[in-house]
Symmetry: none
Subunit: 147 residues, 4 copies
């Protein structure tokens, strides 16, 4: 038999908060109040911050976008290119539960392993992606140091 | 009056498990970790297995896809061709509760009678269909033998 | 291996309607406008009628009560005696999804086999039970004749 | 700073299936058809089997009970004693989302670490606990061997 138990990695709350700070800093720099959500590798919410003035509707969208990044194992911005020339998928994917198909959600990875997800919601998806990428850069820098 | 009661057939748990094993074997062969769900002829969940690394978002999709195969009495892959030239249906069908319109869900039939449904979710719908078909082949082979 | 497929019995729509008529007749006799629901052996709604003046809130209760009779495999009136001296069950059972613990829901059986469920909702549970029993008597009489 | 990433353990599908078989064997021995669900340490469904004749209503209860064992980090049977002398909790806990407060759900642990959860639903909670414990014994035995 396979081993009865296997190992997984998961992002720490402290790291999540550090990423959120980086996303907020970028959001302030571009003048877009954002909501930033981090989920663990099981898709469960780990941390969320809503900046003053951010769109209320984006609270759930941010949570679902971070969930989507983990639960579909890909950045949320790849969906449109992935489905646009595949008519059945284009028609059907929109109804998947909790799937957010707009940019701004990213899996957080160590090598090939997904250890969590981060999403930013509140601006145009290009703004959301920009802020989320700022957060990912902090993760990458910290991970390098801690190796 | 008609008979007050009529006979139905339903898939056994043991057969469902056998089908799931066949789908998993195909999934391993093509390298796509999958979730496989089997429902009975009433649409109620009978068995489910999630392979390591399968998309978490596909747990509910697999259950709903198997339900769709039974509850709409057709393989889930026929939906797109069925609705693509019918704009109202194309627009409206996606909002039907629990309907999954992508391939990978099939009714399990004895003759013309639906006795359950199986669905695979986790890959592109073409992968899902391939794995579900492997499961159906096992059902067909076993049914022949048991006649 | 067990047989891959097994046989089930299910109530016909025609029989369901006949039962509903009997429940309505009793409801008129006692002066309580009722809602009567019949589900099949898989818990799926088969027929429902709401009499003029019946409590709107009881539409869903009738459906869930019929579902409860099938899905928990017992008349809904037995719950209170079943749980009243079992504190954990008394505390926990009320939160079971769709469980209605008041009288008026009954499995419809052929021998020991559940082939559907009927529920009446709209009056005091004693009224609901009275009307549902009138429906079951019609089922019993018809089943005898059709043997 | 803490490490940005930490290690978790998670139960394998193969182990889950083995535990389900043990629960089914006990269920057959005591004559109670059961539904058995296993979730991973993130509360996500990993495997489920419904035995022939098991209560349909218990499909969702089994899933939620396994989720409860993981998400509240305790066996589901401890809830009643935990809340019975605490009136606000007794009143309020039942409305917690997805919480099942009846026995039959257990965290699966390696040392102090929760790596998943198993739940059995379909009988009285004492039956459910008996079957779930049979599954846990198989896990313990296998874990010892694999060390």
């Amino acid at each position: 038999m396979q081993k009865p138990v296997y190992e997984k990695k998961s992002i720490s709350l402290e790291m999540a908060n550090k990423m959120i700070e980086a996303a907020k800093e970028k959001a302030r720099a571009i003048g877009v109040p954002q909501i930033i959500a981090v989920v663990d590798e099981g898709g469960n919410l780990l941390a969320l911050q809503r900046m003053e003035g951010a769109l209320l509707a984006c609270i759930q969208i941010a949570i679902d976008k971070a969930y989507s990044a983990v639960a579909y194992r890909r950045p949320t911005d790849v969906w449109y290119d992935f489905i646009k020339d595949d008519p059945p998928l284009l028609t059907g994917a929109g109804f998947f539960p909790r799937l957010v198909m707009l940019g701004g959600g990213f899996p957080i990875k160590v090598g090939d392993e997904i250890i969590g997800g981060i999403a930013v919601s509140g601006g145009h998806y290009s703004h959301d992606m920009e802020c989320a990428k700022a957060a990912l850069e902090v993760f990458e820098a910290t991970s390098q140091v801690s190796k």
